[in-house]
Each structure stands twice: as C-alpha cells, then as structure tokens.
Amino acid sequence: MSRAIANETVGISGGREGFSFYRCITNTWFLYCVSLSVFFLVWDRVAAWRIFGDSLAQPLVVLDKLYELTQIRFAGTNLGGHIWASTRRVLIGFSLASAIAVPLGLCMALNRYTNAVVKPVFDLFKPMPPIAWVSISILWFGVGEFSKIFIIAIGTFVPCLLNSYNGVRLVEPELYDVIRVLGGKRKDEIIEVCFPASFPAIFAGLQISLSVAWTCLLAAELMNARDGMGFLIKRGMDTYQPALVLGGMILIALMAWLSSLAITLIERRLCPWKTGIENL
C-alpha cells in the first residue's frame, strides 16, 4: 500500500511544471520573443550603422514609408490602390486557371483517353518555370493588364491540375465498391466518392497555386507595370530607396500570407471532415 502511494506521489511531482531557470529559457514563447527582438534589433542596428552602406533601411523607416504612401498619391494611386491592383490580378488569374485546371485534372484522372491526349502535352510544359513566360506574354499581350494575368494563370495552372489529378487517383478504390454495392451507377461513384474524396487534394493544389501566383505576379510587375506592389519594389530599386523596396516586400508577404489563410479558412468551412483526416 505504501508503495502505491509513493508511486503516485512521484507521478504527481513529475507532472507538475517545476519553476527553474532552465525551464524558463526553454519556454517556447519566451524564445519566440527573444528571436524576434534580436532579429529586428540586428536589422535596425545594421541599417543604422550603415554596414551595407545606404542599402538597408531601418524597420521604423520602412513602416514610416508605408504610412506615407497611404497618405499621398504615388504613381497615380495610394497604397491601397497598389495593393488592390496586384490583388485583382492574382484573383483573376488564379480563378481563371483553377476554373479550367481543376475540371481538366478531374477529367484526366477519370478518363484514360483524355489522359492519353492531354498528359503528354501537359508534360511538355510542366518543367518550364512560369516566370519563363514573362517575355512571351509581353510579346503577345503587350504591357497591359492581360499579360500579367496570363503569367499568373500559367503559373497556377500546373499545381491545380496536378493536384486534382492525383487527388482522384489516390481515392481508396474500395469506396467505389461501396457505392456499387449500394446500387449506385458510375455517375454516383463520381459524384458521391470521387469529388468529395479528392477535395482536400484540390485544396492543397489551390494553396500551392496561390503562392506560385504571388511569385508570378511579382515577376510580371517587376518586368513592367504602372501600379501594384511589384511596381513599388521596382521603383524602389530604380530610385535606390531601400525603404520602398522593403515596404513592398513586407506588403507582398503579408498579402501572400493572408490569402493562404483565407484558403485554409474556406477549406475548413467546406471540408469539416478534413481536420480529422489530418489528425489521424
């Protein structure tokens, strides 16, 4: 009996969080704070002491620059206008490409003949980085809006298609048997099993596409643009304003992060079962 009590006591004291210096410095949140403050401090000092000459701006100067841009019109519009110009391009290009690529990927996975026709041509284009299309898209569509949307669409097309294709091909084949045993037809197999089962993979593809889309947008806007976040970065480069460059980088990172968050939230809404699959 006494042994049992002893065991229990050991168990309790082992489970309790002891307060010690070691525990304190290995606390995750404490480390996060240290890491971030060191990062910004180093950035700030490196810029202030001009270790790289004038080519780095202090964090506060960058923020100040961004605030200034919200107040004044810069190249025809204020900061919100530039953000919207870029976001609009990404949204249009992304929706256009996914609206074609996802159904095409599904068709390729479901029909061997479609696959035999489309896959080889697709494989020709697959290894070509989307940014390599920048020049030809300017040749084709000029420097207007559509040449940028085109590159974004090209870039997002590949991961969208690949993921919906693989999503269907990785569906557990016995699930089709369930539908057949319950008296369903081929049509039911596709609607009731194929689509919902490949949903998470499609969303993973959209997630990848979106990050590619921002990269493509940036490439397009760096090459030629009169507005947008890439334009801010390019203008900062041309006029040697590190604050403007860094401001543009922060903005675009923020937008990329926000849009990926949005996809995650939509996915959680549309696939409430998926959290469980991930945690298995």
Binding site: F30, V118, P120, M128, A132, V134, G236, V245
Partner: protein, 265 residues
C-alpha cells in the same frame, strides 16, 4: 512457394498510340499556325525555326552576346551553388528545429517571417548588396531552396515514432544520441523528398533572378529575346530552361532513389 504462370496484360492500342499522336499533332498545329500566318510570326516562332536557331546558337554568340552553352553553364552554376548551399544550411537547420526546442524557438519566428516573401522579391536588395554578379543570384536561389529543405527535415524529425524515442530513452540514450541515431535516420526519406522540391523551386526562381539582373544565363536569353522582339529566341530560351530543368530533376530523382534504396537495405 508454387511458381505462378506469367501472363502479359496489354494496354489497348489507341491508349499506346495517343500520347505520341497528341504531341505530334500539337507540334504540327503550332508549326502550321505560324507558317500559314494564322499567328503572326512576330508573336510566335514555329518549332522548325526554333530548332534551326538552336543549331545556330551552339556556335553564334549574336544577337544576345553569348553562345547557348555559356548561357546554360552560367545558369547551371548559379542554380547548383544556390541549391547546394540551401541543402547545406536548410537540412541541418530543419533537423535541429525538429528536435531541439531552443533551436525551434529561436529559428521558427524568423523563418515564418521570411517564408511568405516570394524569393524574387529579394532581387532589388541583392542588387544593392552584391551587384548583378553571381552572388546575388545565388542568394535568391538559396532563399528559394531553403524553405522546402527546412520544412521537410523538420516534419521528418517530428514524425519519428514516439515509441521508438521512448524505447531509446529506456535504454539510457541521451538527447544527442537519440537525435543522431534515431531521429535523423528516420527523417531521411522526408529529407530526400525535399531534394526534388527544392530543385524545382531553385530552378523556377533562377529564371526570375536572371530576368532582371544578369548579362548571361538562360533567363537573360529569354529577356533579351523579348527586348529584341525575337520570339524564336524567347521560345528557345524557354525550351532550354524546361529541358535542362527536367534533366536536372531526372538526375536528382535517380540520386534520391539510390539513396533511398541505400537506407532501406
């Protein structure tokens, strides 16, 4: 075990022919569309013209200043140095982040801050810092390649079976021994998976890096073709980038398979 009879299962004939047919038809339409003037020749060059340009460019440095081999060699050099550096830094960092809480706590926030920035957004800063030489491009490619390396190595360590770790602890292994002897080997398949992804990232961003700040390289070839309004040069550049990327991917794939076969044994 009883020996079973072998049979040959045949794919239907149309399914075997269609892929070749489809590529052939695609090239034919492309060729004819330009030749007949349906697509103006200032917008697109037919495959035959691209091919003859390819032959020319093997020896002719004009009009973009270098023969094809020089462009390809420059790009390959940048890509491989950047790629190598990202593996060298990314994999150990990811492995360490997966096992040591202090490393994770210190490295993770910075990593998460930098991760959403598209690598080519660094171009202006690298131009300020390193000029338009090799170093700047290597830096951009390094930034691009490091992300998948860190993530895969981190996840690989995190996926180590907890039971195995507990077993190692009951045998009296210390943290460092468990990390080297258990977590790293069990993370290897994930790490090898990163080789391929990182290469694709590096190659994509190489083109981006060369679009803006370069005087040789395949990306530069594409840009110059655009500036000179020479669609044949642009297409040649795109094809070269695609083919060399695919070849590199194939080589890495072979290496990955060899390595994986090595650890399975």
């Amino acid at each position: 075990m009883q020996a079973y009879k072998e049979v040959v299962v045949k794919t239907p004939l149309p399914l075997r022919i269609l892929p070749y047919l489809s590529v052939a038809v695609f090239l034919l339409i492309w060729e004819l569309a330009v030749r007949t003037g349906m697509i103006p020749s200032v917008l697109l060059a037919p495959p035959s013209q691209v091919f003859s340009l390819f032959i020319d460019k093997l020896t002719q440095p004009n009009p973009d200043g270098a023969v094809l081999a020089v462009h390809a060699w420059t790009s390959l050099q940048e890509a491989l140095i950047g790629y190598g550096l990202s593996l060298l830094v990314g994999i150990p960092l990811g492995l360490a982040m997966g096992w040591f809480r202090v490393v994770e706590g210190l490295a993770r926030p910075i990593f998460e801050l930098i991760r959403p920035i598209p690598p080519i957004a660094w171009i202006p800063l690298t131009v300020f810092w390193f000029g338009i030489g090799l170093a700047g491009k290597v830096f951009i490619i390094w930034i691009a390649g490091i992300v998948p390396c860190v993530i895969n190595s981190y996840v690989g360590v995190r996926m180590t079976q907890p039971t195995l770790i507990q077993m190692a602890r009951t045998y009296g292994a210390n943290d460092w021994q468990i990390f080297c002897g258990l977590c790293v080997p069990s993370a290897l398949p994930m790490v090898f998976g990163a080789l391929q992804i990182a290469l694709a990232y590096c190659w994509t961003n190489l083109v981006g890096a060369e679009l803006l700040a370069a005087n040789t390289g395949l990306g530069y070839l594409i840009t110059m073709g655009g500036r000179l309004a020479r669609p044949d040069i642009v297409v040649l550049g795109m094809v070269s980038v695609g083919v060399s990327g695919a070849v590199l991917g194939f080589i890495i794939d072979c290496i990955e398979k060899r390595l994986l076969a090595g650890i399975r044994r």
